[in-house]
Symmetry: C2
Subunit: 318 residues, 2 copies
């Protein structure tokens, strides 16, 4: 165990993680609450989650209406905003409603706004990034990012049904260049054409990534890599306020940990999955990034210990 101060020093010594994706203003309805125009977007959640483990470099776009306080929040976590463009127009907006058990959500509204014409520009200070997370954006843009980074060492990407269906060839081009893909079970099925998840993962591995992470919401996540499978159950929480960004926080925690350690061994990636699970478990405890604001290394450490207790058993002999 290291102290919070040690943690900070170590994080500053580790490889920076480049995160590219959306920043959004979300309107969220649950069975009991509603929040309007709160900070969201895959790149926000992923960056903030990763920032507990490694320096983060963000690339994204916001409109004139994006509140300064949101930028300040990211900057307070030492997230590098050299790659954050502020352009004429309104920020990307998403609105959704969750069912009672949070496993189903309905998109009520999507306004791409400034995100529609977004072309990621990697600042000169970012081109040496060794660790890259391509959050869910058009695979054509994901490729443009990879073409601007000098010599990435470990690249992960996310995607969604829209691109799997509509830009399959571009997505396959991305997949050939990534080490790890994180996607949910339905996306894995759609991409592979197989219903069975281990079969789907095997087919997706054949498309390029050596590690395939299938995110299953409150059923946890599965890692397929190096002929092994690792199952990380979701942390069972009695308080769930808003699952928005859970998958992105998972990815951010996972990639942040890998950036911190540079340990891409089986056990290294398993640990990254655990940190991803832990960060996702915090993300859902409040709306937007609100739970993250009060999060510190001690709380992360406590939940890592609780996760270990959640899965630990001493095998009996038979």
């Amino acid at each position: 165990m290291t102290s919070v101060a040690d943690t900070k020093t170590k994080a500053q010594a580790s490889r920076p993680l480049l995160v590219v994706g959306s920043l959004a203003l979300d309107t969220i309805e649950t069975q009991t609450s509603r929040r309007e125009d709160v900070l969201g977007g895959a790149a926000c959640y992923a960056s903030y989650a990763a920032s507990f483990f490694a320096p983060v470099r963000l690339v994204g776009v916001v409109g004139e209406d994006f509140p300064r306080k949101h930028e300040d929040l990211l900057r307070a976590r030492q997230i590098d905003l050299a790659g954050l463009e502020r352009v004429h127009g309104r920020t990307f907006r998403w609105a959704g409603r969750y069912a009672a058990d949070f496993n189903q959500r309905t998109t009520l509204d999507t306004q791409l706004n400034v995100f529609e014409t977004f072309r990621p520009k990697i600042p000169p200070s970012y081109v040496d990034s060794e660790m890259v997370f391509l959050a869910n954006i058009d695979p054509v843009l994901q490729l443009e990012v990879l073409n601007q980074v000098r010599q990435p060492r470990f690249v992960a990407c996310d995607t969604m049904n829209f691109w799997i269906g509509g830009k399959r060839e571009d997505l396959l081009r991305v997949l050939r260049r990534v080490n790890m893909v994180l996607l949910n079970d339905e996306e894995a099925r759609q991409l592979s054409g197989r219903d069975n998840l281990p079969a789907a993962a095997r087919i997706i591995q054949g498309m390029g990534p050596t590690a395939v992470v299938i995110k299953r919401g409150d059923a946890g996540a599965l890692l397929f890599a190096q002929g092994e499978v690792f199952a990380a159950p979701a942390f069972p929480l009695e308080k769930v306020e808003d699952p928005t960004g859970a998958g992105d926080s998972f990815a951010g925690g996972c990639m942040g940990w890998l950036a911190r350690t540079g340990d891409f061994s089986d056990n290294g990636i398993r640990n990254a999955m655990v940190f991803g699970t832990v960060l996702a478990s915090f993300a859902v405890e409040d709306f937007s990034l609100d739970r993250f604001r009060s999060l510190d290394a001690a709380a992360i450490r406590d939940r890592c210990a609780a996760f270990a207790r959640l899965v630990r058993y001493t095998p009996a002999s038979f």
Copy 2:
């Protein structure tokens, strides 16, 4: 590690497990196959799964049409059939169809037949049973069983939506007398009135059982007991033929292990969950109890080792 021979000796030395529930002839449709009138029923799956770990005493009813070869199959596993009634009429029949991903099934037909008037009679040779598994039957019958057993030490029960809705008071009477309840997530929600599973488990614990096991199909199972939670992911399988009986095989493996060891400690029950998971993983690999027929201790041991690899990681310090 003990040899297969040791295993057998140990199993014979452990407490017998009394299993009460249905024996059925199932007709199963999947996307690729169809099987008619194959051996099924909760008590069959549970008994057979448990028989790898402890002596089993079965109580149930079949009609004149129940093939002798099915009885022989159970007897070959040393399952005590003194409590199996064969009565005038047809055996309980169930027919169902599975969707492509096996997570949804449609009941096509249910014919209770001889099961409709079933009243479990515990033979004198069973009344000293210390370990009892009450599979999913009318809670009034579950109570009748408990009233006939002299001094049960550890009782577990399953149930279903039909009884939770229609015989709630009787079910609550059962729950006050059981140590462990195993039910699926929808049943846990219905019984507790809460969507959140940890909250549901807490409420169900308040109804009597100190251990609540929530079965979630291919999302695995959660154990809530002694203020702790244990998550056992389902074993990711590329070959799934028929998920019928997976939950009952889980319960049988779990209770069989507890009967074998008498270890009701936190780690003892966690191990029971693992054996339940392992037996369930075999059950789904073929129709009916077909995969069980060729199963031996060595295969169970191998899959236990594979399960340990599925969840094992060496926590990194942070």
